[in-house]
Amino acid sequence: MSNVHAGSGDHEGLDREDSAPGDSRVAKSVIAYVIGLGLAVMLTVASFVLSGTDWLYGPSLPVALIVLAIAQIGIHLVYFLHITTAPDNTNNVMALVFGVFIVFLVIGGSIWIMGHLNGNMMPAHQLGQIGGM
C-alpha cells in the first residue's frame, strides 16, 4: 500500500463511458461550485424576499415559491451533484427521472385522494349527532 497515489487507482474515476453521480470531468471545478452557490443564493434570497412582501398576488405566492424551489433543486443537481445530460450520465439521469416520478406519484396522489376524502366527509356537527345516539 505504499504507492497508491501514483497507481492506476489515481485515475480510476476517469472511465471514458460512464460517470458516477458527482463525478464529472467537465463540471468538477471550483468555478462550477462558485457558480452553483451564486445561483442558489439568488434563488433562496428571492424565495425569502417574496414570502416576506406582498409584491405577488397572495394565492399565487405558493406557486411562485415552488417554482423557485424546483429551479434551485435543478441548480443543485447540475452544479453540486454534476448530473448532466452528457451521454456518460444517462444511467444517473434515468434513475433520477424514475425517482422524481415516484415522488410525484406519492405526494400528488396523497394530496389528491385526501382532498377528495375531506370533501366527502360528513360535517363535524352531524358526526357529533351520530355519536350521541
Binding site: G9, D18, P21, G22, S29, Y33, T90
Partner: protein, 234 residues
C-alpha cells in the same frame, strides 16, 4: 437482424449504455436500441470501474431516501390544516432563524464541494479543512434546529399537540436526523483521510459522502419552501 449487428463494435463504444444509439455502431438488432448481440456483462466492454458502480449504487440509495422523504412530505401536506385549534405555522415559524439555517446548510454544501475538489487534487489538508468547515456549518444548522424544537415544545406546541405538529416534527426531525448521521459520517471520513490517505476505497467513500451531503441540502430546499415559507404565509 442486420449484418452490421454482428460486426465487432468500435473499441470505444459502450455496449451497455441505456439508449446508446452510437453513430459508431452499424444498426439495430440485438437488445433494445443498443444493437449489441452480447448479454450485459459478457461483452468486450467489461464492467464499469468500481468508482462508477459505487457512485451509482449510492445514487440509487439517495433516490430511495428521497422517496421516503416524499412520504413525510405527503403526510405533512395532508395534515397541514389539522391544527386541532392549536397554533398554526403562521404563529410558530420564525423565518429569520430559518434563513440563517438555510444559509448555513447551503454554505456547508459549497464547502463540501470544495473538499471534493481538494481531494481530487490529493490535498490532504485542503480536504480536512473543507470537511471541517462543512461539519461546523452542519453542526450550527443542527443547533438552531434543536433550539427551535425546544422553544416550540416549551410553548406547548410539541408533536402531541395536533396532527399538523406531529407531521411537522416527523418531517423536519427526520431531516435533522439525517444531518446528524451525516456529521458522524463526516467525522469518520476526516479520521480516515488523515490516517489512510487517498486510497481508492477512501475516495469512493468521500464521493458517497459528498452525494449524501448535497442530497440533504436538496431536501432542505424543498423543506424550507413547503413547510416554512408557504406555512408562514398561510
Amino acid at each position: 437482424m442486420s449484418q452490421a449487428a454482428f460486426q465487432a463494435p468500435a473499441a470505444d463504444a459502450d455496449p451497455y449504455k441505456l439508449g446508446g444509439s452510437r453513430k459508431l455502431r452499424g444498426g439495430g438488432g440485438g437488445h433494445g436500441r443498443g444493437g449489441h448481440p452480447e448479454p450485459t456483462g459478457h461483452g468486450e466492454g467489461g464492467p464499469a470501474s468500481p468508482r462508477v458502480i459505487v457512485g451509482y449504487g449510492f445514487w440509487i440509495f439517495l433516490l430511495s431516501d428521497i422517496i421516503m422523504f416524499s412520504a413525510f412530505f405527503a403526510a405533512y401536506a395532508v395534515l397541514e390544516r389539522g391544527t386541532a385549534g392549536g397554533p398554526t405555522g403562521h404563529d410558530l415559524f420564525d423565518l429569520k432563524r430559518v434563513a440563517i439555517e438555510t444559509s448555513f446548510l447551503l454554505l456547508s454544501s459549497f464547502t463540501c464541494g470544495l473538499s471534493n475538489v481538494a481531494s481530487d487534487a490529493r490535498s490532504k489538508w485542503g480536504t480536512e479543512l473543507f470537511l471541517l468547515l462543512t461539519g461546523l456549518l452542519g453542526a450550527a444548522f443542527l443547533l438552531l434546529e434543536v433550539q427551535e424544537f425546544r422553544e416550540m415544545i416549551a410553548q406547548g406546541a410539541g408533536p402531541e399537540r395536533s396532527a399538523f405538529l406531529s407531521a411537522f416534527f416527523a418531517l423536519v426531525g427526520c431531516h435533522g436526523l439525517h444531518v446528524f448521521a451525516g456529521l458522524l459520517w463526516l467525522g469518520t471520513m476526516m479520521a480516515q483521510v488523515l490516517v489512510k490517505g487517498f486510497r481508492p476505497h477512501i475516495m469512493h467513500r468521500l464521493l458517497c459522502f459528498n452525494l449524501f451531503w448535497h442530497a440533504l441540502d436538496i431536501i432542505w430546499v424543498a423543506l424550507f419552501t413547503v413547510v416554512y415559507l408557504i406555512g408562514a404565509g398561510a
